[in-house]
Symmetry: C2
Amino acid sequence: MTAPGGPLGEFELIRRIRGMAPAHPSVALGIGDDAAVLRPPPAGSSTVVTTDLLLDGRHFLLDECGPEAAGYKSLAVNLSDVAAMAARPVAAFVAVALPKRSAEEIAEGLMAGMAPLANRFSLALAGGDTNAWDGPLVVCVTVIGEASPPAPVLRSGARPGDVVLVTGPLGGSILGRHLRPEPRVAEALALLEAAELHALIDLSDGLASDLGHVLDESGGLGASLDAHSIPIHPDAERLASRSGRSPLDHALGDGEDFELCLVVPPESAASLLRSPPPGVTLHRVGEIEPGPGIRLRDRDGSTAPVRVRGFDHLGAGGEAGGHAG
Amino acid sequence: MTAPGGPLGEFELIRRIRGMAPAHPSVALGIGDDAAVLRPPPAGSSTVVTTDLLLDGRHFLLDECGPEAAGYKSLAVNLSDVAAMAARPVAAFVAVALPKRSAEEIAEGLMAGMAPLANRFSLALAGGDTNAWDGPLVVCVTVIGEASPPAPVLRSGARPGDVVLVTGPLGGSILGRHLRPEPRVAEALALLEAAELHALIDLSDGLASDLGHVLDESGGLGASLDAHSIPIHPDAERLASRSGRSPLDHALGDGEDFELCLVVPPESAASLLRSPPPGVTLHRVGEIEPGPGIRLRDRDGSTAPVRVRGFDHLGAGGEAGGHAG
């Protein structure tokens, strides 16, 4: 059916997406009914569900990055949340509000950004909702995954004495990297197999803020981080040269790195650092302590509290990349 | 944590929602981690997933209806989709973009609209995503449900000779009723128990359009509807007095009635009409035929094709209630 307002109606768009969506054995029925139907996860497994809503002007600038990047990021950040449970993605549901003036072109760009990720991670596009309006582009993605024991790995399992590791260099993602996060799905599954994971989170709000969530959810613990051990991304250096803040400050405070932060017992940390799973990079950044708060330890052993300047999605300004000032 | 931009940050809001959310035995972990964790559905059951994105200016007019009605409608339309599979709702995920000027007030209004529905249907609010921006209110709700055999009931099972029934009067919901749909969850479950349901859909796009989906998905069938049997809502009469269209035209074409349309074999229809399940109203409106298209039959036996003027979410104008012209 052709829509009155444009060359491509909702039903035609849905038909096209239906044709593009890869199959997944857990999806009994995808796009085309009132709801999708999923088969139960394998015996003993549980289902994880995550949803993220991305806004033009806030999480991306459509005029600068184009719809393909917006589509990629919208799906990738949800896959990152599934990775943060050490789960395996199964199906995505994509709801959009498309700017009316170029709804069809944007819809196709979004799909072009999502399809390669869906294929790489064997993820079905199992449903969604398509709207056009006079407002900016809105993309809301929900991803369902399957967690096989000992997953899901929660934020709440950290214990004093545990070691804190991250999977890559941090900071300055707003220079562009935030549009192309690499969902650490395979890395999380490999780590789950290789070590006892006490806690796992993806770095969306910034290391200090996200580690803070882990500490809060683990019963009000604290952590000490080694200033010289925090892997600093070249983007953090570049950004520091104009922001007046230090590269370390960016590595600790900037959001949207989408690396994993894992908390493991010391013996697991030693073994992981000695022989990390193939393809997984690991940096030891500090350890969990009983007293609340995050402290930064200098080479000389002196410590100072870390001021959390993570990303508050509700209060932050309109800056794309979403860093609260 | 208090947000820089306002009195209530995302984390505080999430904490509050967490406190309001009813528990559900299938939700192992709700708000507060990277993803929610659901237990597998009861043996033999499957999981249904549906998502709907609602926009200020399109699905509701926030300045006129207020955030409580917007919250109610956003959740209710998703529950209606779960009902349309004859499934039982389990958990909702609510992602919002809140207008910055009054983010907190709107968030509280949305929750006030959703909480009674969540409680009535024993639905957990298990996750979500909160953003504030300079744009209009956007609410994206995903609901997960459990379908016990013979559910889920799909759109695709209609057969020639089957009877088409609806659960209530149709048309004119744009006069206000579209904001307060009654999700027919209990009705669908009662019908599932009482009869052999070949196909089931909720009337969101309009009877002609939604029945058209059933006919398409059932292999290109058709239907004849009895003009004098279609239950016409008083709102359709009221709207007709100013629209220049007939009340029947509104009953056939208007969207967002959110009644159920069911397709059952003749013997089930007879038994359902003789003794409907308690609390369920049923109207016989026509029957399925092998030839494609929908025909409207007059009292004198003459027939005319029904022109589908359903709701196309992508192409339709900015009218709240969303009727394509």
